[in-house]
């Protein structure tokens, strides 16, 4: 048996996480409301990508329909707040549970279809959702736009969040931190191992006693709940819920791009990916205001590059670099840049 990790080693990730959290908490103190809204968006996207990554990265099931779960959460929160005067935080448990239920409902067909076909089923979900919204939601001015009452900072919070947008950002950050921790624990426990085992080899997983159907449906449910709560968080940032076909489909693709860029099958990957994604989108807009097509083109190119050069995303790439710097040979005898054909699954 190898030596146990020293206490310091074990505390490492916790210290790093706290450091990052501290930086994130400091941001709205320094930056203005426009940037703070942008950071809030990045965090909401990170939560949705965390959820998608549980499903796609850890469990190997593809979804191009997460924009629908996201929109579902957004509308649930917005309608509860606007029409029923609920406070924001009270809507979250409802959104999470409803997300679990809807996700499980979608997960059942996923038991029968895989890969490309599953992608198509979820794509159908992204296509269907805006129709449902158009049919059932009557928001501002008769449109499908639902605007929430302004969420203001409570009196006791004025010390650290004198402005309302700062308070909203802290709410988003707090919820996201809890969800990130939850995801981190989840993938390190029994459930996480089961997810991976099912992804790697279903028959083998079943042989060691894993209930395939239960794991797959749970993966869908949890993943959908994450996306739904992420939708609620974005409502808090932007003050509105809205879902057109374009938005829903675009979000679904955005989340996929985020996990590919960040690193599939890691907890940090989607977080890094989301920040980079939101930052790049905004940055290209500001630096090249007269070439609006640059941003989508850039992401297209980045995606292709990532698939070829950094197939394991930024996180995977960074890990390989540090390994090389320490001049340790790759542990299992493969090349430092593994290719599928030399290291078959």
């Amino acid at each position: 048996m190898p030596a146990r990790p020293t206490p310091l080693r074990r505390a490492g990730p916790a210290v790093a996480a706290l450091a990052v959290l501290a930086v994130l908490a400091w941001l709205p103190q320094y930056y203005g409301s426009t940037q703070t809204a942008l950071f809030g968006r990045a965090i909401a996207f990170a939560v949705a990508a965390l959820g998608l990554n549980l499903l796609t990265g850890y469990n190997g099931q593809v979804s191009i329909g997460h924009g629908a779960f996201f929109g579902f959460g957004a509308y649930t929160t917005a309608i509860l707040m606007k029409d029923h005067d609920w406070p924001f935080l009270a809507t979250l448990p409802v959104v999470a549970v409803a997300g679990l239920v809807v996700g499980a409902a979608v997960g059942f067909p996923a038991l029968r279809v895989k890969g490309l076909y599953l992608a198509l089923v979820t794509l159908g979900l992204a296509a269907l959702f805006p129709d449902l919204v158009t049919r059932f939601v009557r928001g501002t001015g008769g449109t499908t736009l639902v605007q929430i009452p302004k969420v203001t900072a409570p009196g006791w919070a004025t010390g650290f969040a004198p402005q309302d947008d700062q308070w909203r950002y802290y709410l988003v950050l707090a919820v996201a931190a809890v969800l990130a921790l939850l995801a981190w624990n989840l993938v390190r426990g029994r459930f996480g191992r089961a997810l991976i085992a099912v992804r790697e080899h279903e028959a083998a997983a079943a042989t060691v006693g894993i209930d395939l159907a239960r794991v797959k449906v749970s993966a869908f449910a949890v993943s959908a709940a994450y996306a739904a709560v992420a939708g609620s968080l974005l409502v808090l940032v932007t003050g509105l819920a809205n879902a057109g076909r374009v938005e829903t489909f675009q979000l679904s693709i955005d989340f996929l791009v985020i996990i590919v860029i960040g690193g599939i099958g890691t907890v940090l990957g989607p977080i890094v990916g989301a920040w980079l994604f939101v930052f790049l989108e905004d940055w290209t807009k500001q630096v090249f205001p007269d070439t609006p097509l640059l941003s989508p083109a850039l992401f297209g190119v980045a995606l292709i590059l990532f698939v070829y050069v950094l197939p394991d995303g930024l996180i995977g790439g960074a890990r390989r670099v540090t390994r090389r710097l320490r001049r340790r040979p790759p542990p299992d005898g493969t090349r430092a840049t593994p290719h599928p054909e030399v290291n078959p699954a």
């Binding site: 190898p2 996480a17 990045a42 593809v62 008769g142 203001t152 402005q163 996480g192 991976i196 609006p292």
Partner: protein, 488 residues
Amino acid sequence: MSRIVSRPLGTPTPANLRAPEAKEPHMHITTAHSTSLRSRRRLRRPAGWAALLVVLALLLAACGGGRSEEKRTDGGDGGDGAASELIDTSGCASDPSVEVTGDTIKLGTSLPQSGLYSAFQEILRGEEAYFRYVNEELGGVKVGGKTYKIELVNKDDQYQADKTVQNVNGLINDDKVFALFNVVGTKNNLAIRDLVNEQCIPNLFAATGSPAWGNTKYPWLLGTMLVPYPLEMQAFVDYLKQEKPDATIAVLRASDDFGRAYADTLKRLVGGTDLRIVKEATYNPEVSDTKAQVTSLAATEADAFVLGATLLACPNALQAVREAGWQPIIYMSGTCTSKTLMNIAGPAADGVLSVGSLMDPNDPRWASDPRMRLYKEKVPQYAPEADVTNGIVAYGWTTAAFLVETLQSSPKLTRLAVMETARTLDVEGVGLQLPEASLSVDEDDWFLGEIFTMVRYDAGKGYFVTEGDVLDFSGKTRSITPPDLITG
């Protein structure tokens, strides 16, 4: 795209994409060197965190700071010296009676420049051409005896309302624009109207014909000169009363607020006449395929067909009508009167009725009109990539001209003065506006674009021909429109 994405995401997962946990000893079903794996795992963590920090640092380096410079957005210190009878300024977050210093008027706009609705970016080209012309040849805009150059900051929102909010926040807080100009889209303007109301920033000429711009709770938002959708229906009902007073009508409308504005108004207007709506069908505005609906409507053999649709659904429905062998009198939404859409419809668009308040750049009748000549000379000069025959460019040019007119009519350059001026304006002959169509609003009438003509598309000539006299519905929009479409 899908091919690229599906490869790493599909099953079986390539080994190089595997999660670190997949290589934990007890999980590795094939082989595992547990000691070396353990050591590798230890090394991975810092790398991941380092990557996260690098990304954060990059992001921060690119963003400007500035929390300290910001005003509280929820305070109410506005309007001490700005007693206004037209607009209540007591709740303003910033004082709207502060005069602009410097010699530039900074305006902001948000509109789709990429994505499905990117065709609307032609509006921006028309606007920019006009502003450049004013800045370079006329020296700028004269307000209250001083001359200012116009600067237009544009942002892309892909027609997504939440991005419009983000853009407008940036335009107000970071770019510090004086006013918003010609923000495109009904939802997009609805999403920002609370914000502009709080900040007391003029949102001039929200670029849709939605009747919601008549809502008196939002004095800082003024709609554009597009004909309000309910008025289109009034014009067509009047037309039918003349031509075929006992006509049966079939309606195809988008299944959203836009389509509802047509159908609800029409229902209201046919009450008490011999006109009769025999069937109404809806289509999904994001699909644009209307063939099934048109086929079922054609079965009614109604005398008239109202098309409350926009963009590609218009040519699609027109072709479906032709294929069904149905020959009703067709009325099509004014939002579809573009050369591009009519070219798609081809001969199926011949004879279609609609409304317009601008001179059609393709109509030889206007070729010698000085305002049309100016447009055709300056647009290629200042926006060479724009197509002068495109009605969307003509619209952008005209709104820009209208804005300059508004600014020059304002006694001084404050937000309040400009907004008050816009709310009491009465001008003629601006941009490519029809010679007879004046633009006017006052205290009780918040709608521009109430004077227009009916037009009929001539597929042989390739442009819209004026049908009948100029129609003047000044001050009528509010009484024609079902109230919940305005205040909803």
